[in-house]
């Protein structure tokens, strides 16, 4: 009997120790830093929830599709190479509530957008990252979207952190956490090779200015991608300049229509969003609206018909980086496009 009792006590103690949130790290733990927060796992996470397009595509790219307990809120169709994997994943059209999320019993939440962890998110919020960690759920945001403090949203991004190098570092770290380091290294190498091919080909070409605008949100002006938006990096890699790179207060900056006319960008990309079946063609009506609007008739982009239906998903930080750089290279430098 005594033996049983000792065993029971020992067992319950070890269970307690297991439950205690990050009190003492077990020897097998892997820890990396993400946006200044320690992300620690005892072994590769098995029940992953991926919110937003970049996180969902990242999971498929790393080959952990079978560990997804849920995916939510796609901005567009996933890249063709992930279509099959995504069709098998449980999908929420809108973000689940915090309770719904927790009822899936995830051990890891990957997010492609920081507002989901903000205290006052624009959409439903899962709660702050620390709050989730206390429940045993580790979390991740792409580091180019790092808010300056936990619980903050989009407005707190440091533009200096917005780079492809951060995406690579994220991939390496996630490779370690998920035990798929080789796959991560492959993904990084592939991204680097493809982006370098485009950048090399366009390096001596003239650099047109590009505006990324969001349709349907024009109440009181229009919304464009500012400096901290990943689009700035992608446009640069493809041999262009974000016409609004100097506006660094937020990723999505509201400007007046008159300001837009004053800047007179060479290209206008319509950032279509948000539906799992969306393709760029869905933005064609918005393109036509801009081309037909007499207020815009003098714009360079309008006169040369360089108003392009495009995707919000394309300019999010993540493994779409190479795809988007190639895509933008074709748009901005069609004559050089045979190189990649």
């Amino acid at each position: 009997m005594a033996v049983v009792r000792v065993l029971a006590v020992a067992l319950s103690l070890s269970l307690l120790a297991g439950c205690a949130p990050s009190a003492a790290e077990s020897p097998g733990a892997t820890t990396v830093k993400n946006c200044g927060i320690d992300v620690s796992v005892d072994g590769p996470p098995k029940r992953v929830f991926a919110a937003y397009q970049p996180a969902i595509e990242l999971a498929h790219a790393l080959g952990i599709s079978d560990r997804l307990v849920g995916t939510a809120y796609l901005d567009s169709q996933v890249l063709p190479e992930y279509t099959a994997a995504q069709s098998k994943a449980k999908y929420f059209k809108n973000l689940p509530s915090r309770e719904e999320l927790l009822s899936l019993n995830p051990d890891f939440v990957l997010s492609g957008f920081n507002d989901v962890f903000s205290a006052a998110g624009s959409d439903a919020s899962f709660g702050s990252r620390k709050g989730l960690a206390d429940l045993g759920v580790q979390t991740w945001i792409f580091s180019p979207l790092c808010p300056t403090a936990d619980g903050k949203g989009d407005e707190a991004i440091d533009p200096a952190t917005v780079s492809m190098d951060n995406v690579y570092a994220d991939l390496r770290d996630l490779g370690r956490l998920f035990g798929v380091e080789d796959r991560a290294a492959q993904v990084i190498a592939d991204q680097k090779r493809r982006i370098a091919a485009v950048s090399d080909a366009v390096k001596d070409a003239p650099r047109p200015t590009v505006a990324i605008i969001r349709p349907g949100l024009e109440g009181g002006g229009m919304t464009v991608s500012g400096g901290p938006d990943f689009g700035t990096v992608l446009i640069r890699q493809a041999g262009g300049v974000n016409a609004f790179a100097d506006l660094t207060s937020k990723r999505n900056v509201k400007i007046s229509v008159e300001e837009f006319i004053k800047r007179d960008p060479d290209y206008v990309l319509i950032s279509g969003c948000c539906d799992a079946s969306l393709t760029p063609a869905a933005s064609q009506p918005d393109v036509n609206k801009i081309l037909a609007n007499p207020a815009f008739a003098n714009l360079k982009a309008v006169r040369s018909k360089h108003v392009v239906p495009w995707l919000f998903a394309n300019h999010s930080a993540g493994v779409r980086g190479a795809y988007t750089t190639e895509n933008l290279g074709h748009i901005l430098h069609p004559d050089l496009g045979r190189v990649w």
Partner: protein, 324 residues
């Protein structure tokens, strides 16, 4: 008479300002040339296709909201009534949500009809609920508040359930004049004109209604008819205004109050004053919104709320002290 001429002059100045002020100052001379001798230059296009429709929208929306607020306050004999209180705005908003979410209508010219229809249905519903066992202004206002609350929660639920398609609604709902273009403005003109004529004609009857239903009836006023016509004017005016600019608060509430302070209790003077004063306030708010947050714009609904809220509190406080 002198004061009325002054108000018209102020309105004219504000209209000119609204055409001149923006991302770049365009002088009155250049504005005049852009309107009379269009060359297709950037500033010509800005004046003609951005600032002009926006200014006309401000005139229409302002006049409509000011008048409908004055009519509402007159007919309900409730100084705190505004187009919101008969469920007009809430009905329009629900209908716009349905237009976007259920029918996939994403153009403002499509919203107009839904907003008007929603406003009408809600107002009739409010009247039917309020009319049970005899209409009184208080019951009408209570029914309006209740149905507004109900419709408001339907709207919230719909927007929460379908974030992606209703994104544009979330921006429309703040209230902005910059959504207007020539087509929408042209569509709105007949509605607003009809509403203005109807509202102004009602002035004398509203004066009699102010004496109370019994006395008004004794004086030969057809109380029910006046209420129906007033309701029609409010629906047309506020419904159209809401469709053009989204719901804009406080204007319909505060402007008739100010008009009453200036010209006294005669509805025949309050109504035209409200019609002229509200666009002055709205356009000024819009001009402020254009310049304070550059390179962005503050939506006019936000500015009117910022200006209107303290004004409203001041009015309520003033009234309370007077009543004591």
């Amino acid at each position: 008479m002198k004061r009325a001429a002054g108000l018209v002059a102020v309105l004219a100045v504000v209209v000119v300002l609204s055409l001149c002020v923006g991302d770049r100052w365009i002088g009155p001379g250049e504005v005049y040339r852009a309107l009379t001798d269009f060359t297709g230059s950037d500033s010509d296009r800005v004046v003609r296709y951005l600032r002009l429709p926006r200014t006309v929208a401000g005139l229409l929306v302002g006049a409509a909201l000011g008048l409908s607020g004055a009519v509402m306050q007159g007919v309900t004999r409730n100084p705190l009534a505004d187009p919101g209180i008969l469920g007009v705005s809430a009905g329009a908003a629900v209908a716009v949500v349905a237009a976007i979410g259920l029918f996939g209508i994403h153009s403002l010219s499509g919203y107009v009809w839904f907003a008007m229809g929603g406003a009408l249905v809600a107002t009739v519903a409010v009247y039917l609920v309020g009319a049970v066992g005899g209409t009184t202004p208080v019951k009408l206002a209570l029914a309006g508040a209740a149905i507004s609350a109900l419709l408001g929660s339907v709207t919230s639920a719909a927007t929460l359930l379908d974030l992606s398609t209703l994104n544009e609604y979330r921006f429309w709902v703040v209230g902005s004049l910059s959504l207007a273009d020539h087509g929408i403005v042209a569509q709105a003109v007949p509605f607003v004109a009809f509403g203005i004529v109807l509202a102004l004609v009602l002035g004398r009857s509203l004066n009699q209604l102010a004496l109370g239903d019994d006395l008004a009836q004794a004086l030969g006023t057809r109380v029910l008819l006046i209420r129906v016509l007033a309701g029609l004017a409010v629906v047309v005016l506020a419904g159209t205004a809401t469709a053009i600019a989204g719901p804009i608060g406080f204007l319909g509430l505060a402007v008739p109050q100010v008009a009453r302070l200036v010209v006294g209790p005669d509805q025949r003077r309050i109504l035209p004053w409200s019609m002229l004063l509200a666009p002055v306030v709205l356009l000024l708010a819009d001009i402020v919104g254009r310049v304070v947050a550059r390179p962005a714009e503050l939506q006019v609904g936000i500015v009117t709320a910022l200006i209107g809220a303290p004004l409203f509190i001041a009015l309520v406080r003033r009234r309370r002290t007077a009543a004591l």
